[in-house]
């Protein structure tokens, strides 16, 4: 298995541990990642809020760069916002030749050309369908039988493009959680919104949305995420929310590759658990006892 790899800006900064743990997990399952040379920002949700064409041109530039690498048809993307932006271009140009022409008009400035040959795939898609729970299960060193894990998918890996999971009732993480011996914590919040950049612009609204998620996860040992924005919103404001809503809502938040990596015997150091903002004492104790 070999993929082109688009890490995205967050994975070089606030989500560094997502980058490192993704690469560690992929190496452990013999999947090779080739980082797209000279990639640039996908525009996140900011470009779309300022210019429609820019929000397509920025991801298109990266797709065009990826097309120059022969023989690798799939691009793996761990960040859900990057994934959606790249996916959007992949999908839109299939149906709209005029748009493709307009995008290529922009890319011509950099002597790039987009054809639309490649498939954009989310990390969760690759891990659950290409690697699969069977392979993970074979590699498990310590079954996490005592852990209840709440899978959190967020929005943009599910919607609007229903590619690898049910956008109303996502389940793709469940077989993976079961593969490492842990239990899936039953809840309804897996596909709900974390508020995205509300935390920066209208914090009250962001806090309300994240509170609903953390509140529903009471009783789980950890929430697992597949997006740097979701991860940050769920892990960074726990104290503030606990205080505001008069409720103890501390809970461990891990990226999916970190959880799977731990179970297949990668070290906390390999997975950079030291970079996470919310790992509770109880969780650490349980990890040690297993």
């Amino acid at each position: 298995m070999k993929y082109q790899y688009y890490p995205g800006c967050s994975l070089e900064g606030t989500a560094l541990e997502y980058n490192i743990s993704t690469q560690a997990l992929m190496k452990a399952v013999d999947a090779e990642l080739v980082e797209i040379d000279d990639w640039t920002c996908c525009g996140a949700s900011a470009a779309e809020a300022t210019s429609h064409l820019l929000s397509l041109a920025l991801p298109a530039r990266n797709l065009a760069l990826a097309e120059k690498m022969d023989g690798l048809n799939d691009i793996m993307v761990p960040c859900s916002a990057c994934y959606l932006n790249l996916k959007k271009v992949e999908q839109k140009i299939k149906k709209d030749a005029d748009l493709l022409e307009k995008i290529n008009d922009v890319l011509e400035e950099e002597k790039l050309n987009l054809h639309g040959k490649l498939r954009v795939r989310h990390l969760l898609d690759v891990v659950s369908n290409d690697i699969g729970p069977g392979k993970i299960k074979d590699l498990v060193k310590k079954p996490f039988t005592d852990l209840k894990i709440a899978p959190y998918y967020g929005c943009q890996c599910l919607r609007p493009y229903a590619v690898f999971d049910d956008p109303e009732d996502p389940r793709s993480m469940e077989p993976l959680i079961e593969a490492i011996g842990a239990k899936v914590y039953p809840w309804q919040m897996g596909g709900k919104c974390c508020g995205a950049s509300h935390m920066n612009t209208t914090m009250e609204v962001g806090l309300e949305l994240v509170h609903a998620i953390l509140h529903s996860a009471r009783g789980a040992d950890a929430i697992v995420t597949v997006c740097p924005m979701c991860q940050m919103n769920l892990e960074a404001y726990q104290q503030k929310i606990s205080k505001k809503y008069q409720e103890a809502l501390s809970i461990t938040i891990l990226y999916l590759p970190q959880l799977l990596g731990l179970a297949i015997g990668l070290s906390e150091k390999d997975l950079r658990l030291d970079l996470n903002l919310a790992i509770t004492k109880d969780f650490r104790k349980k990890l040690k006892e297993m």
């Binding site: 990639w39 920002c41 809020a49 820019l54 400035e109 950049s197 509300h198």
Partner: protein, 188 residues
């Protein structure tokens, strides 16, 4: 152009842009599935259903006094569920684009937030998270705003995930791409 002529001109531009959004949602049947699906509806002054009605009726003033579209967090539930299959999230974004282009005052915070992000990308190719937040704080001219983020910023710095980044010019490697986008978008 004097100020009032400029203003009138902007108003005409906004009308054109609104017309294209109306086209996106013109088969809306006002069923309210969007409102029922919206995680942010609780905080909005007008519900999404009502906003679409205002767009259909061309009620510019009402639309751009409402905070509704600025509260859209791009979760795509409404787009997924709309029984007419309308691109509602994209229509919300199109309203955000008007607010950004015209620098409309009620949306100062989110507009400056998005623009600071895009500016950092324009300068460096990849967004520099600390530079972008610094640009945002400067543009807001609110000395208390950064305080909300001090604790988190310090935590992230102590983990080495971000470092102090004084805004810099950068190599402006994406400048030709940005310029071309602007040129094409200004074309009638």
């Amino acid at each position: 152009m004097n100020q009032s002529a400029q203003k009138e001109n902007n108003f005409a531009v906004v009308s054109d842009q609104l017309a294209s959004i109306r086209e996106m949602i013109q088969t809306c049947i006002q069923c309210g599935t969007c409102t029922g699906s919206c995680p942010n509806a609780f905080a909005m002054d007008s519900t999404p259903r009502r906003l679409w009605r205002m767009v259909m009726m061309g009620q510019k003033d009402a639309i751009f006094q409402s905070k509704t579209f600025a509260l859209c967090s791009d979760c795509y539930y409404c787009t997924l569920r709309c029984p007419r299959g309308l691109p509602l999230t994209e229509a919300m974004d199109a309203l955000k684009q008007i607010a950004a282009k015209e620098n409309l005052k009620p949306y100062k915070k989110s507009v400056r937030f998005y623009k600071s992000f895009v500016e950092s990308v324009r300068r460096h190719g990849r967004v520099r998270e600390m530079e972008f937040m610094t640009l945002y704080f400067f543009s807001m001219k609110d000395p208390f705003l950064p305080l909300n983020f001090t604790l988190l910023g310090m935590k992230l710095m102590s983990k080495g995930k971000v470092s102090v980044q004084v805004p810099s010019k950068g190599k402006r490697r994406l400048e030709p791409l940005f310029r071309k986008v602007e040129e094409l978008e200004d074309r009638p």
